[in-house]
Amino acid sequence: MKVPASPYLAAQRRGFRGVVRALGRQYGYVSLLATDSQGTRYEVRRGQVSVQESRWSERGSVVRVHDGSGYAELSFDLPPGRQLAERLARALRTRPAGGLEPMPCPVHREAPLRRRWRGRVKLLPESLRVEQKLARLAAVRDRAFSLCPSLVDIRVIYEEVTVRKLFLSRARELEQAYHWAQGYLIPVVRRGEDTRLMHQTYSGLKGVELLDELEEGLEPTLKTAEQLLGAGRVSPGVYEVILAPEVAGLLAHEAFGHGVEMDMFVKGRARAAQYLGRPVGSQRVTMHDGARAAEQVGSFWFDDEGSLGTDTRIIEAGLFRAGISDLLSALRLGTEPTGNGVRESFARKAYARMTNTFFAPGPDRLEDMIASIRQGYLLERFVSGMEDPRNWGLQGVILYGREIAGGRLGGRVVSPVIMTGYVPEVLGSISMAGGELRLSGSGMCGKGHKEYVKNSAGGPYLKCRLRLG
């Protein structure tokens, strides 16, 4: 089913064009991004139900102008009216911190383009009524309690978001509408004093059909949660490990992805800038990022600065080939924007951000990877990670690992596990890569500790060496 376009953006398009035209008389470059995204989050747990607006819902606009030396922006949520262009022009003329020296940035000359895109999903949100969605989530919860005696609580969450954006400049008029959904199963189990929390997630450019995945995933999720009870601790040290696709995605995202966001190159914060064309990993390592590189929640046709989405081959057979860039960083660096200029919302600045980031699959089988390890772990799910683009430190908090001993996957589970390492060493140690690529995008990614955006990450099963604690 085709995702419907925004009636609001359709109604205001003419007015927004007028704003761009009016400001264009005063500034060398003007663009306007208008958004109208709407979503709902449904949650059931023990004794509770909630229906909330999604945190990704937004309606508003941001205008960007080149003021002669660099760019200034104004975010607002008023619809276009007779006075809007004058009010914006007045606000843009005030220059807080005007005594400071600007860092010049060239005027953007963009190729003309007018185009509209609309995504497709199997089932649109309207295909199921609110009570039907809640009833299916409640059925999952109730089944969980009947299956798992150690269950204390389980949160069953389904969220659906329709993203709609309009980009206008002198040369461009772009519009897109697409839909994504995500789901979570978060059981908490307890035995005596031992309490454990497990999470399983689902996401994609999907509609209500995602609920099927949520329902199918319940039993394995509860089984793993019960295995966490009595889980041991990993003895600190360096191990041969296999990263499940989700954890491989964490490695791609935190270890190298953040470090090749090219606004970090402009700030001199990225060590990767000195490694262009040089080896940064083993020959098994090929890594992509791009809004058009995969079909997941990080996908779109154009970014929040009017650049078209692409597929960037960041690492190819171990060599660092290219970074990912927002528009202003590309203008300053003299490179091409890669369609990675993304905002948390219309009210925030665009930065160079990852979209769908992943390691390419390889020729190896998971069974062979397990058989090749004498003492190590299969790391399956993560809790969080943090980037360190300058010093290439790596941190990931892994929910649990399964012990591998003597080439066999044993029953022992360790939880939680902190993985750390030095990025080139970790990427250089990747010796095997599985054949199946899987991406997930149920979380959100910050730049530092703010500016949260949706993106996805993944890979195949990867074998490498990591320090665990």
Binding site: T40, V130, G469
Partner: protein, 435 residues
């Protein structure tokens, strides 16, 4: 408040109650690379959150269903009515045990709402002095420099209304952003990152924060890899300390009790009988002068007052919003934004003896449900028995609160966003992996 929304609510069928939270945000943003301006931004945004409630009976139980919606600015003709209709329908299917809304006259906040207005600033004038504060701190600190900074200042007008007749509001100021500093050492350039949050636009406060970070970065530049220490005492200092206390507030929250996740009972010890060290005394506060999250009312419009939560290690009461306290049959406290922790009996100098002092993590992690904590060390100090300190970096520390044998709180305090309390905690045992 748009009259159209109130009219739509009056006309709406099947809506038994409603709550509106409106925030008018006026923000100015300055992006610096070194000392130069990367970009200037401004934002004028109204956030309007509407919660609709429907009351009904199911199997003899009184239920209250709710749905929360964001009301966009500039609705098209008929859109507002459709939005309310959609919300009312959803609320009819999201039934929870009944709970009341905050009634007008539920008491006055302490301190009064007027305390908050003092922080409002002239936004256009605020950013340049703050930037100057950063530059001054950099000039005074040899061996490290500013890489980049983002400074945001915003004035927010919050108003909370409900169908019971409640109508309260307050102005507030929020400063935020981030700071990145760098230094060169024998192994090359290193950096440290600090998220900023401030309740007063005072250049000298930001300057102090900058100076402290520059000094830490200078130490990171000469740090050696953390050795594998195994089971070792950890002196947790600085930004991770407030996070560790979230374990205690989580397990004392009415919502956690209702969800059967809480491990604490009123009147009982929150630290266990075997733990050596300082007994905890925690209070929740609506207002801390330095904390940008301070507020006289919570999002329900409940008037906030200081709450003694834990005294000498014993839980005094549960805390939380009206709904969950109503479910438990305990007096509501509202959702308080700040934590105050009484400092400990020993100075940092006394606590510094054969331990790893961790001052900066990549991302300190606490699982409030299980009490597991840890993170990769960006900067720590290996402290010898005589108190001498050597900077170290890399590796990780981890532990579990429920398995600690001792916890000592420093006598020195620190003010962090949403926190006023000990600067350091000496925890034992924890596991230290080498870098």
């Amino acid at each position: 408040m748009p009259e159209e929304l109130l009219q739509a609510l009056r006309r709406a069928r099947g809506v038994d109650a409603w709550r509106i939270v409106e925030r008018l945000v006026e923000r100015r943003e300055l992006y610096l690379i070194g000392h130069r301006v990367d970009m200037r931004r401004a934002a004028t945004v109204r956030r309007l959150e509407l919660t609709l409630y429907r009351d009904f009976q199911r199997e003899g139980q009184s239920l209250r269903g709710s749905a929360t919606l964001r009301v966009p600015t500039g609705c098209l003709k008929g859109e507002l009515e459709r939005l309310v209709e959609r919300g009312a329908e959803a609320a009819g299917w999201a039934g929870n045990p009944f709970y009341p809304l905050v009634a007008p006259g539920s008491g006055e906040p302490e301190p009064p709402a007027s305390s908050y207005a003092a922080h409002f600033v002239e936004l256009e004038q605020a950013l340049e002095p703050l930037a100057s504060g950063l530059f001054a701190a950099e000039r005074e600190t040899a061996g490290a420099r500013l890489n980049s900074a983002e400074l945001f200042v915003e004035n927010v007008r919050t108003r909370i209304l409900n169908s019971e007749g409640l109508d309260v509001g307050f102005p507030s100021f929020r400063g935020s952003g981030e700071l990145v500093v760098e230094a060169r050492g024998p192994a090359g350039e290193v950096e440290l990152f600090q998220e900023l949050s401030f309740a007063e636009a005072r250049a000298e406060l930001l300057g102090d924060e900058t100076r402290r970070l520059l000094e830490l970065c200078r130490d990171r530049a000469r740090a050696t890899p953390t050795p594998p220490l195994g089971s070792f005492p950890l002196l947790l200092a600085g930004e991770a300390v407030p996070q560790l206390f979230e374990y205690y507030t989580f397990h004392a929250a009415a919502e956690s009790v209702y969800a059967r996740l809480a491990r604490f009972s009123a009147g009982q010890s929150v630290q266990g009988e075997r733990l050596r060290g300082d007994a905890l005394t925690l209070s929740l506060e609506p207002y801390l002068a330095h904390s940008a999250s301070s507020a006289p009312w919570d999002a329900d419009g409940f008037p906030l007052r200081p709450v003694a939560l834990v005294e000498a290690g014993l839980l005094q009461r549960y805390w939380g919003p009206l709904r969950y306290c109503h479910y438990l049959g305990v007096p509501p406290t509202g959702t308080l934004p700040n934590l105050r922790v009484l400092p400990g009996s020993r100075s940092l100098a006394k606590l510094r003896s054969r331990c790893l002092e961790a001052v900066s993590f990549s991302d300190f992690h606490l699982d409030a449900v299980t009490g597991d904590f840890g993170g990769e060390l960006r900067l720590g100090y290996l402290v010898e028995e005589d108190g001498s300190r050597k900077p170290v970096s890399g590796g990780s520390v981890s532990g579990r609160i429920g398995e600690l044998a001792s916890m000592w709180l420093s006598a020195e305090t620190q003010a962090r966003p949403g926190y006023l309390g000990p600067l350091g905690l000496l925890l034992e045992p924890t596991a230290v992996t080498g870098g």
